[in-house]
Symmetry: D2
Subunit: 307 residues, 4 copies
């Protein structure tokens, strides 16, 4: 069985107005998640604004989370940077902070190649004893991880898991089948989509890393529990409720701001409205949601029974 | 007149085998460039493997270069990172090291928006007294800088220059015309392509940042000088010679390695063959050129009269 | 209830050596499909090599199929062309041939806009009494159909259905939810992926248009029937078997030929091996599979128990 | 020397309100072009709305143009369709109408490969005695023609020319150098950009196919003539004037319509304002410019001295 499984939300990072980490809110948010029954937490992923966080704030996030979680569930730490040597430095920080695993993307900024992506993961594995979870997120790094490469790396003990945020469910399923056929039982395969968790579990995924879990962790734990108890219809209904809630991420129109800030801004606004965090400020240069957009998010939370 | 103009090569970074910066080679390479008559140097650009360099090595590069150049020409320092707060840290390093300007891309990894790109540059300008040169490099950051935004930022004193590596010569020309029409005389517009320097100068560009200048700086200074003396035919012949030389960047086929390592590997191999640096090793996870590929590069250098 | 539902394979087009339609094989293949229990057939889709077929051959395909099917199941006819007036001509041919519905993509070759895509479908609806099924296939037309637009067009009676070959399961699911919430009961939503049919049905899809159904229609009908009888585990096992079989589409490597000819070539080779058609020739300029590739396809068919 | 050279505008197609070809306007527009001194005309290119024209209208366009031109300059005819057999039919029409050459893109809609693109051109060459000009237009067909392939096809007598609308000036220049080095004197290389004609000629291009030439053919002939007489500065000034005029193509914002209709709509509106054609209607599903947008185009024409 994989070490990591179930619902592992990618935690948003609450800030103070000066963009230092609001550690009180972060600790409170961790408790909200654990109270909901999540099976792990993933810090410093894309939902955490990791791309916006200087190294010092990244360190505070992982240290604070590890301390607050105190071993109750695994803490996965994103080590998101462009290439091997830079990622290796983030891994050292994660190790020092006591993370249980690190999450690593393909190289980006540079124009890369599958042989180089493969080498990237192998070199990092040589440098750390922590389990490495590959993070497949083409929307950010503009490269899709090759499924065959991922399975080979899993078979070679280089990768302990995969978080697939590619949106390519057919390729995801091919990895799941490959895992089974090759007997890679301890290799943990997660979907990174919050919109098809029931389907991913039905296909054999070990778990999910749902960004929307920041807003409604109970919902995702319910999907998981319904699935485990064989109640697929109930899992589906819960997922559909959450799919509607996901529309909070598009209240700000594409003509006004990036899809990143529209989505993360909605998550943080909803988290604040629900009392999980104190401050919904986003790191620069992201633009804030306006009052009308916030009102629509509030309405959607109310419709979903979350306010 | 712009503060920065002419041929400003983006210096490759020589490494020791442990990927520490080979400062002796770096100093020697700076002298090669200055001897050739370049009008500035740009460190920590894409050609420097900036995406591969940990912060400590980045600092060594800019400190060593500023020290070696010793004020003879301006030193521009790339501050390449994903978003505002992270870039701001690199700018502080560049300031401390004595760089004359900083070079900054659009945000990446995140899905951004022109209003956020605009805000990114404005926030950085508030935080530094150094001139900011915008770096338009869609192949790396997957966003094209909007020409109207660039001109507005120039008019507002936020941007001191533009290095356009987009390959979109029509858009580049529109910026050049906009610069002239709006009287932005001190705004320095550089092409980042090594293959159309004569054409860019003829269109009114202030200069060029040619990666191939690492291998043949004399050639690019000749293009510049021929252009300045009105000998367009000679400038063209020189550019055509260099365009052929550029074929060294594709001796390694796309089926074998990324276009990044094929190109930078060729630059570094040629620099070593010409005695500019001691070691052509590239940072991981890039793959090395093989012996046959190195032989073909050697032949091409010989054909070009450079060996 | 929608007029169209269930398994509706997109039929490949068998050719004679001169690229005229091999109508005997086509008729035989139609019978293979109907014997397997498919609920409809879709001719002149991407799998039919519609992009390669001159208008005269297209006409033969739809006339032959309508004649052979003889009303036993609905015949959907692709009307694949770049823009409104050209598509309208194909629709007239489909009408004359007696097709039951037409299938239409977004405009392509031209750079379009959601308002123009919307207008495209509305203008075509004004010109035909046949039901129009929207065909969402970004890999071919480089535009993703907007989900809100599709639902509005369905609500307005412009669209009778959607065939979603976008691979974006989250967006597909949003359309399915929108259909239910807006009470669009007669709007038929099909997945165009052959790899997630069980999941699509579980999400509420009305059916599937699986290209691999050309090779193994029985398998897809089994998925459908298992799903209808509530045996989701059996549906999943069948889909997984077919997912493995789908690997026939990649025996020819990307370095040697386009993904189109690799995939369609594999379908046609397998159809010939199974005796469904006489000749696996593909229209120019597609390249043929070589002997080794054909051998591997044969092995995979044997493994799947299809030979 | 190439058979085709100089300024060869890609003619827009004037319509009647029912989208039949307004042949009177087309004939008048041909005369406007010939009076301006163009060296050829290109019908049924992207600027002609070829993607929107049914085959019957396409035939009328080429027949009318050949008749009106009456041998005074060469008539190139676009044969724009998805794959070989369909293109071959358009070539037969062009042959019958008396065109002097045909212009052909890479396959599209299908996912292709350089070996298939190569085969496409070779098969078409076997089927026609007319010179074939390759049309490199990735924005429409989503494939960039490989420069080495183009040169090989030229050397083998398959291609008589290239119209490069890729916007990749470095690759364009590599083709020009390859042409010279391989002694392909009769191979005609045209830029398809209206914004860098002076630069393209300076790099050695044989001519240009400027869409904006529909609006101001005199301007492009002037660039050509200034270049031929060695007055590069005058050529540049003229190109810069036209680059400003090109802003008519963006008066309609991207939030409102496709870039195709914004651009072609502006061309046709300006042609009507200048009296070249009677009716600026565009084929469906393109959206029309509104009154305010038309007013801004009028102002820009007046500024350019064209009204």
């Amino acid at each position: 069985m994989p070490k990591f499984a179930g619902i592992v939300p990618p935690l948003c990072t609450p800030f103070n107005d000066d963009f230092s980490v609001d550690t009180d809110s972060l600790r409170r948010h961790v408790e909200v998640q654990l109270d909901a029954g999540v099976h792990g937490v993933f810090v410093l992923g894309s939902s955490s604004e990791v791309a916006f966080l200087p190294d010092a704030q990244r360190r505070v996030v992982v240290e604070t989370t590890v301390d607050q979680v105190a071993g109750r569930v695994p803490v996965l730490a994103g080590c998101i940077d462009m290439t091997t040597l830079r990622v290796a430095e983030h891994i050292r920080t994660a190790e020092a902070a006591g993370a249980d695993a690190v999450v690593v993307t393909a190289p980006y900024y540079t124009r890369t190649h599958v042989a180089e992506v493969d080498r990237h993961f192998r070199l990092l594995h040589e440098r750390t004893a922590l389990p490495i979870v590959a993070y497949d997120i083409p929307v950010a790094v503009h490269t899709k991880l090759d499924g065959g490469m991922v399975l080979d790396l899993a078979a070679d003990g280089v990768l302990a898991g995969l978080k697939d945020s590619s949106g390519d469910e057919a390729a995801f399923r091919a990895v799941l089948l490959g895992k089974r056929d090759r007997g890679l039982d301890s290799f943990a395969v997660f979907t990174g989509s919050e919109l098809v968790v029931d389907a991913a579990l039905a296909m054999g995924a070990d778990g999910a890393v749902p960004g929307l879990g920041n807003v409604d962790p109970v919902g995702y734990v319910l999907i998981h529990d319904h699935f485990k108890s064989g109640n697929l219809a109930a899992a589906r209904r819960e997922q559909e409720r959450l799919l509607k809630l996901f529309s909070i991420t598009s209240v700000a129109p594409p003509s006004r701001m990036g899809r990143g800030s529209a989505g993360l801004g909605a998550f943080k606004a909803a988290m604040k409205m629900r009392g999980f965090i104190d401050n919904a400020v986003m790191a620069p240069p992201q633009l804030p949601l306006d009052d009308e957009e916030l009102l629509r998010i509030k309405e959607k939370l109310a419709e979903a029974g979350l306010l």
